[in-house]
């Protein structure tokens, strides 16, 4: 069992594009919920607009996205551009099968943190608590 977080964070989790590998994101969403966060899982195949709208409607602090099929650069780029254009401010975290060389590229787009396979949910939980508290 994960340590219960002191502070509840509202987190939106989602998959984008045509990629339908959801093991990672569904597992993490459920375990973060167990740790006391309010987690919304938006499901598969979301567009940029759907994600931003849901993030606004649900008043979340953190957006967590997961990619397995190599479309992370295209999709995240579109999302981050749109977030900046709309003047919104969300902490975006990305996870999945992300080649090491792409991590700095995602960070340059404004992604706060990238988690790769093998990451523990406990560490993701700690990270979220840390950034929300600071």
């Amino acid at each position: 069992m994960l340590k219960m977080s002191k502070q509840k964070t509202r987190i939106l989790t989602a998959k984008m594009g045509l990629d339908c590998h959801d093991t990672g994101i569904v597992t993490i969403a459920n375990m973060l919920r167990d740790a006391g966060h309010e987690v919304i899982y938006l499901g598969l195949h979301n567009s940029v607009e759907e994600i931003i709208q849901a993030a606004i409607d649900e008043d979340v602090q953190v957006i967590g996205l997961s990619f397995l099929s190599g479309q992370h650069l295209t999709q995240v780029n579109k999302l981050m551009e749109s977030i900046h254009q709309k003047g919104e401010d969300f902490t975006v975290i990305v996870g999945g099968v992300i080649p090491k060389t792409d991590i700095p590229k995602l960070e340059a787009m404004g992604v706060r943190k990238v988690f790769t396979p093998g990451a523990m949910v406990a560490d993701i939980n700690n990270y979220i608590s840390q950034i929300v508290n600071s």
Binding site: M1, L2, G17, L18, D19, C20, H21, D22, T23, V26, T27, N30, M31, G43, L44, H45, L68, S69, G70, Q71, L73, T74, Q75, V97, P99, K100, T101, T116, P117, G118, M120, V121, A122
Partner: protein
């Protein structure tokens, strides 16, 4: 010494007294653990009922497992080049993976395909694309298993038929596998992904049309019933894989029989695609138990008369989800163990996952090493020289019995849900997956389960490895240009007419394959044919 170091010197209890499916493991097995085992009834000679020891009498002595290779990226031309390379390296069969847009029936130039063209596999939008992939190869001499599902597989089967006909290759000589799993092809099949872009009703209809068409024209082409591999990759156990793969198959057989097909017309070429996980003996026991259950069910429940109908034939791939991103070279050891277990399981075709799966798509080097794993097992270790060498092992036989019992019990539970298709629709199936995922991740987080390099034996610095380079933008642009030319170079009136025929035919009951072939002949594309089929159901998603 630290406390931990002192601990290590004392020797360590590995503390794994149950299999991953939860079957208790005894310290020692002996004759008393298999007292009920009847050789003739429960095992039989290899190639004889109930096929526990294998579906052919001589197994690898007669024919070594197909060293099947996953191939497919970018354009049809690039994919063909990679196939030529792998063929030269000794691969004699291919699993052709397609990109995500094609998997959902979208053309490469559809706006929804942005950033995804050619990334996870090759793009196939036209009949010409499939012909380009084959080029120097012909479908009667190279075994290709197209990694696809209905509705899309209805179009690719039509493309294959058109290709063979055009090249004067009799359909009865075509080999390979037509994958035809309506539920689990897309990453194990979250319900959302199989219903988002096409109505499930249509998918299930085309699934049967494919079975019917193949039973009639393709005596040597396999059709894959269950993509059990993808289903298993969601995190399910070996028992769950066995039960759900078989329950799914029998559910589809029931539907085919209701449609009026005879079991012996379609069962002989039915095949499976399973996963081989890291737990060595449990996987071997799983395959032996599945063969036994399948044979008995086909004979007793379905009354199959053709001996070929009773054979549970399967290809296998080593489990991607057993691999780690950390210390990636360790994965070669994992896949070697899994490939060895697959070989002991007596399967028809083995694919070894590449060690870099946790980082991206396979590179040429990682693909080659995966192939070498099989070649070393096959050519050097001698384990293929006799059939089912583990038969009679007290443990393996006892575990085979345990697996059989548990698989059957779970199949009964599925039956109570109204069959597998209903259990997917109702969400029962996905709740099983969720439970398995959480169980597995919690076990890793609490270190109840050891994953070397992930929660134990970590290294400070991970070495960089070569990564397959994706050129999504370039591929997207190339393909868009190609499709523009393809469409400009056709008689649009004939194409529209043929597409209207597709829509109308789907409202009726005739087999769809011949109608789709006609549309392909006048250069209708994958995306257009899918749109014509959606219209028949009044289905919109955009």
């Amino acid at each position: 010494m630290t406390e931990k170091e002192t601990e290590q010197t004392k020797g360590e209890s590995l503390n794994q007294a149950v299999t991953p499916s939860g079957i208790p493991i005894l310290e020692v097995y002996g004759p008393k653990n298999i007292t009920d085992l009847n050789y003739e009834k429960d095992l039989g000679q290899p190639g004889e009922f109930p096929f526990t020891r294998g579906v052919y009498s001589n197994m690898y002595r007669g024919r070594f497992a197909t060293r099947r290779f996953q191939v497919g990226f970018g354009t049809p031309q690039e994919t063909h080049e990679r196939m030529k390379y792998l063929f030269k390296e000794g691969s004699n069969g291919f699993v052709l993976t397609i990109d995500l847009p094609t998997s959902y029936g979208f053309d490469s130039d559809d706006v929804i395909a942005e950033g995804e063209v050619g990334v996870t596999g090759v793009a196939i939008s036209t009949a010409e694309d499939l012909a380009e992939i084959y080029s120097d190869f012909t479908p009667d001499n190279v075994s290709v298993s197209l990694s696809i599902r209905p509705p899309v597989s209805a179009v690719t089967l039509s493309m294959l038929t058109l290709l063979a006909t055009t090249r004067n290759i009799p359909l009865k000589t075509v080999i390979g596998t037509q994958q035809n799993d309506p539920l689990f092809q897309m990453s194990g099949g979250p319900l959302q992904t199989i219903t988002q872009f096409f109505p499930l009703e249509g998918t299930l209809r085309l699934n049967l049309d494919i079975i019917e068409f193949m039973a009639k024209y393709y005596p040597k082409l396999n059709w894959m019933v269950t993509n059990s591999y993808n289903m298993r990759e969601t995190g399910l156990s070996a028992v769950e894989e066995g039960a759900f793969a078989l329950a799914h198959a029998f559910n589809i057989y029931d539907r085919a029989i209701i449609k009026g097909l005879n079991i012996d017309s379609f069962a002989p070429r039915a095949s499976f695609f399973c996963s081989c996980g890291i737990d060595f003996f449990e996987e071997i026991a799983k395959f032996r138990a599945m063969r036994r259950i399948y044979a008995r069910t086909l004979r007793n429940k379905y009354g199959a008369k053709d001996p070929r109908s009773l054979r549970f034939r399967s290809s296998v791939q080593t489990a991607g989800n057993s691999l780690t991103a950390q210390q990636p070279l360790n994965n070669i050891i994992r896949t070697t163990m899994e490939a060895l277990a697959s070989t002991f399981s007596g399967l028809q075709s083995v694919q070894v996952a590449s060690y870099d799966e946790g980082h991206g798509l396979p590179t040429e080097e990682s693909s080659r090493i995966a192939l070498r794993v099989q070649q070393i097992i096959g050519y050097e270790t001698g384990v293929t020289q006799t059939v089912d060498p583990l038969a009679g092992s007290y443990y393996v036989e006892a575990l085979t019995n345990d697996m059989e019992e548990r698989i059957l019990a779970l199949m009964e539970e599925v039956e109570k849900q109204g069959g597998l298709i209903e259990s997917v629709k109702s969400g029962w199936f996905e709740s099983r997956i969720l439970a398995a995922r959480l169980r597995s991740q919690r076990a890793i987080e609490t270190r109840e389960k050891t994953v070397v390099g992930v929660n134990k034996f970590l290294v400070k610095e991970e070495h960089d490895i070569n990564i397959h380079q994706i050129r999504a933008e370039e591929w997207g642009t190339m393909r868009a240009g190609y499709l523009k030319g393809y469409r400009n170079n056709r008689d649009n009136r004939s194409t529209s007419k043929a597409l209207l025929d597709v829509t109308n035919a789907l409202k009726g009951e005739d087999n769809m394959i011949p109608v789709i072939i006609e549309a392909l002949k006048v250069k209708a594309t994958m995306g257009e044919i899918h749109e014509a089929m959606r219209i028949a159901y009044g289905f919109k998603f955009r």
